[in-house]
Symmetry: C2
Subunit: 453 residues, 2 copies
C-alpha cells in the first residue's frame, strides 16, 4: 500500500495550476479536443438516444440556463451536462486516449460548457479547465488500466467523473480541501459497466460522469464534506474498483508529462479496430477511380480481434453496420465514406453496397497487430492490388490534421444543424480561448429541432 497522499497531492496541483503553466502545444491539443468534441455533440444531437433522455429529464429540469448543444431545448446545467455527454458519444465518433481507451472530452467538456452558461467564465479559463480535467481523468485511468477495464468497468465513465470534478472544481475556485472532497464525491459516484455496450446506456456513461463530476464539485463548494483520501485509502476507489494501483501514473511528472497531449480523434464513426480497413479501402478508391466498378472480390487479413468484434456478415441496421468490417469496407470502396452517413439504416441496405459486401472475405491473422490490415482487391480481369496499412489515420503516428478535423466536423454537424450554422460554429470553435464559451453554445442552436414527444 502506498504511503503517498494521492488525493491530497493531486488536489493541490489542480487548484494551484494556472493557464500559463500549460505548454502552448498542450493547449493547442486542447483546442483540437474541444473542436472535435463540439462537432460530435452536434452530430449526435438528433439521435433517438438524445430524444429518449430528453423525454425523461424535461419534467425535472431546473432553470433552463444551458444549451443542449445542436438542439433548441435548454436545461439546467446538470441535466445539460448529461445530455451533451450522451450526444457527444452516441455516434462512437469522439476522441480516444489510446493508452486507456478513455474517450476524454465527453465527461469534461460537457460539464464545463453547461456550467459556462450559468456561471460565466472566459474561454481561456474554459480551455485551462478542459486540459486539467482530461489530464486528471487519463492519469487516474492509467493508474488502474488495464485491470480495471478488464474487470468490466467502462473507464470513460469511471475515470471521467474524476476529470469532470477536477475541471469544474478548478474553474469555480475550490480550495485544496474542497477539491479533495470533490474527488471523494467523484470516487463514490464512479460507475458504468461495459455490459451496457450496444445499448443507449453506453453513452449514458460519459453523460452521467459529466453530471456527477460537476455535482461533486458543487457539493464540495457548498461545504458537503467527504473523505480526503478517496482515491488511495484502503477502502478508496482504486483499491475497491481495481486490482492494479500505480499511483506514479497519477502523481509522476505532474506538469511536465501531459496525457492531455496524447488525445486522438476518430476519423470514422465506429469502433477503432475497423479503422485500418476503412483507411486502406479509401486509399484504394483514390488510386483506382472508376475501376471500383470492376472489383470482383476483396480479401482482408487482420488481427483476430477485428473479426471477433466486427464480424457481422449481414448487418440489417446502421448500428449493426458499425460492427461489420464487410459493410465498412464496401462503403469505403464505393462511397469513400466512414462518417456517420456510412452507418445509416438506408445505406446499410442499399443493393450496391450489399452486392459488394457479399464479395468481401476476411481472415484472422494473429501476426497482424491490432492497428494494421492487409487488403487484396481482385478485379474482374484477374489482376490484383495489394494494400498494407501499418497504422490507420487518426492514430498517434498519423494524427488527423486540423483540416481533417474540420472536414469531420462539417460532415457530421451539417446533417443536424445545416451548413451555415456548422461553418459559423466551426470558426468560433477554433477561437475558444478568445471567446465566451456561452456564445459558442448559443451558436450551435438550429432554427428548429424536431420536438421531443
Amino acid at each position: 500500500m502506498t504511503e503517498r497522499k494521492v488525493t491530497a497531492e493531486l488536489a493541490e496541483w489542480v487548484v494551484g495550476l494556472k493557464g500559463s503553466d500549460i505548454p502552448e502545444s498542450v493547449r493547442a491539443e486542447g483546442v483540437r479536443t474541444f473542436v472535435n468534441w463540439l462537432g460530435c455533440a452536434v452530430g449526435g444531437a438528433d439521435h433517438e438516444t438524445a430524444d429518449a433522455a430528453l423525454r425523461a429529464v424535461m419534467p425535472f429540469s431546473g432553470q433552463r440556463t444551458s444549451t443542449v448543444i445542436g438542439r433548441t431545448e435548454k436545461l439546467d446545467a446538470l441535466h445539460a451536462a448529461l445530455l451533451n455527454g450522451i450526444t457527444s458519444h452516441v455516434l462512437d465518433y469522439d476522441d480516444t486516449h489510446l493508452k486507456t481507451i478513455i474517450h476524454p472530452a465527453g465527461p469534461i467538456a460537457s460539464a464545463l460548457m453547461a456550467l459556462a452558461e450559468t456561471r460565466p467564465m472566459s474561454g481561456y479559463d474554459f480551455l485551462t479547465a478542459l486540459v486539467i480535467g482530461v489530464e486528471v481523468e487519463c492519469r487516474i485511468g492509467n493508474a488502474v488500466y488495464p485491470d480495471h477495464y478488464d474487470r468490466g468497468w467502462h473507464i470513460t465513465g469511471t475515470a471521467g467523473v474524476f476529470g469532470a470534478a477536477a475541471a469544474v472544481g478548478h474553474v469555480i475556485g475550490l480550495n485544496k480541501q474542497q477539491m479533495q472532497w470533490a474527488l471523494g464525491l467523484a470516487a463514490t459516484q464512479s460507475s458504468g459497466l461495459r455490459e451496457m455496450f450496444g445499448t443507449m446506456t453506453k453513452s449514458f456513461h460519459p453523460g452521467r460522469a459529466a453530471q456527477n463530476g460537476m455535482f461533486a464539485a458543487l457539493m464540495a463548494e457548498a461545504g458537503y464534506d467527504s473523505s480526503e483520501q478517496g482515491i488511495e485509502a484502503k477502502r478508496g476507489w482504486a483499491n475497491v474498483a481495481s486490482t492494479k494501483q500505480d499511483y506514479d501514473e497519477i502523481l509522476g511528472e505532474l506538469g511536465t508529462r501531459w496525457e492531455a497531449a496524447l488525445n486522438s480523434y476518430k476519423p470514422f464513426a465506429c469502433g477503432i479496430v475497423i479503422h485500418p480497413t476503412i483507411d486502406g479501402c479509401q486509399q484504394i478508391r483514390e488510386e483506382i477511380g472508376a475501376r471500383v466498378a470492376d472489383i470482383a472480390s476483396v480479401h482482408l487479413r487482420a488481427h483476430p480481434l477485428v473479426l471477433e468484434l466486427t464480424g457481422k456478415k449481414t448487418p440489417r441496421t446502421g448500428l449493426e453496420g458499425k460492427f461489420s468490417v464487410y459493410h465498412s469496407a464496401a462503403c469505403a470502396l464505393l462511397r469513400g465514406d466512414g462518417a456517420p452517413t456510412a452507418f445509416t439504416d438506408e445505406v446499410v441496405t442499399l443493393p450496391e453496397i450489399i452486392d459488394l459486401r457479399d464479395r468481401i472475405t476476411a481472415e484472422a491473422n494473429p501476426a497482424c497487430h491490432e492497428a494494421s490490415v492487409d487488403i487484396t482487391v481482385t478485379f474482374k480481369d484477374g489482376t490484383t492490388l495489394e494494400k498494407h496499412v501499418e497504422r490507420a489515420i487518426g492514430s498517434l503516428e498519423r494524427p488527423l490534421s486540423n483540416e481533417q478535423i474540420e472536414t469531420k466536423f462539417v460532415n457530421q454537424a451539417k446533417l443536424v444543424v445545416g451548413e451555415e450554422i456548422t461553418r459559423n460554429l466551426l470558426a468560433l470553435a477554433w477561437k475558444i480561448e478568445e471567446l465566451n464559451p456561452a456564445d459558442i453554445a448559443a451558436a450551435s442552436v438550429p432554427a428548429a429541432t424536431r420536438a421531443v414527444e
Copy 2:
C-alpha cells in the same frame, strides 16, 4: 457462471406482483418500516448535512413539487429523493436488514415519497412498492454479501439503487422489458464506498441511490434502453462488483420467503455494535434507581469489534460520541438516553457525563458474540452488580414494539418540528395504506425552517 436469466426473472416478478400477493404480516412490517423511516427523515431534517446539500441543489431544482420531509423547502422529485435519503440516514438511526447491514428504507421510501407528490399514487400502492423495493434490494444484497461489502462497497448505496428502481418502476407500471432496462440502468449507476464513513458522504449514498434508482425507472419509461441482463451478465454488476454471486438468493422462493419481513429498527442513534451496552446500562438504571449516584466504576466485556469501532475514550463532539462505548454507557446510566439527544456536542461535554465516563473501562473478549455484552457495576460500598445482555433490544429476537417505534419517532421528530406536528404525523404514518402519501409529506412540514444560507 449461471445460465439463469436473473434480471429477466426478477423483472417479471416485480411487474406482475399485486399488493394482495404480499402476506398481511409482511405488509404490516412494511408499515413499521415506513413509520420508522419517516421519523428518521424528520429527525435528521435540520442536520447541517441537509443544509449543505440544499445549498448545492437549490439553484438546479426543477419544479418544486416534492417536500423535503420535515422542512419548508420543496424540490423537484429527483432532488427531493436525494435529500430525504440523506436526512433519513444522517443520524445513524434508521432500519437495518441484519443479514447484509443494508439500511433498507432510505433508498426506497425516499424515492417513492418524492414521486408520490408529482405522480399521485394511493397509500396502498405506495406500501406495495415499498415492500417490493426492500425485497429486491435485500435479495440483491444477499447475493453478493459479504464479499461485496468486504471489498469496500457501501451496500446500502450499491444495492439500494436496484430497490429504488424496482419500487418506482413497479408503481409507474413499467412492462417487463422496461423493468429490465431500469435494473440495467440501476446496475450501471451502482456505487458508494465505505471509505466515506465518518463524513457527510456516507448519507449521500442512500440519497443518491434513491435519486438514481428513480431516474433509472423514469429513463426506462421514456424508452431509454439498456442491457437486459445487467445483474448476471459476464460483465454485469454482480461479476464486476463482487467475487460472490449467489443468484438463488435473488430468485429463490420469490413471493414466499420475504426479506422485507426481516427488517429491524435501531433503538439507539449510533452504530449497532454499541447497542447491547446501552441496552444493558438502561436496564441497570431502571433496577438501581437513585443508586446511580453511588456507582464507583463500570467494567465492560465485549466483542473485540466493539472496541475497534467505538473505542474513543474522550469524544469531543456529538458525532465522536457515537463512536465511544464509554460515553454511550455513561449517558445510558445517568440519563437513560440512547436517542439523538445523547449524541449532541453539549451532552458529550457535560461534567457529570465525563466524570462517570472516565470511570468506565472495557476489555475485548473474543468469546463474546457481537450482539452481547457483560457489564459489571461496582458501587462505592464495594458491592457489585452483574448484567449480561445476550441480544440487544432492536434485534430480530427482541424487536422494537410498535409503542417503542412510536417513542423513537416522537423523541427525535419533536426536536425538529415540535410535538404537535410530530403527534399528528405519527398518527397519519400508521395509516399510510389508507391515505394519500402526499398528504403525509405535507403534514411533516414545520411552520418555519431555519433558512439555508
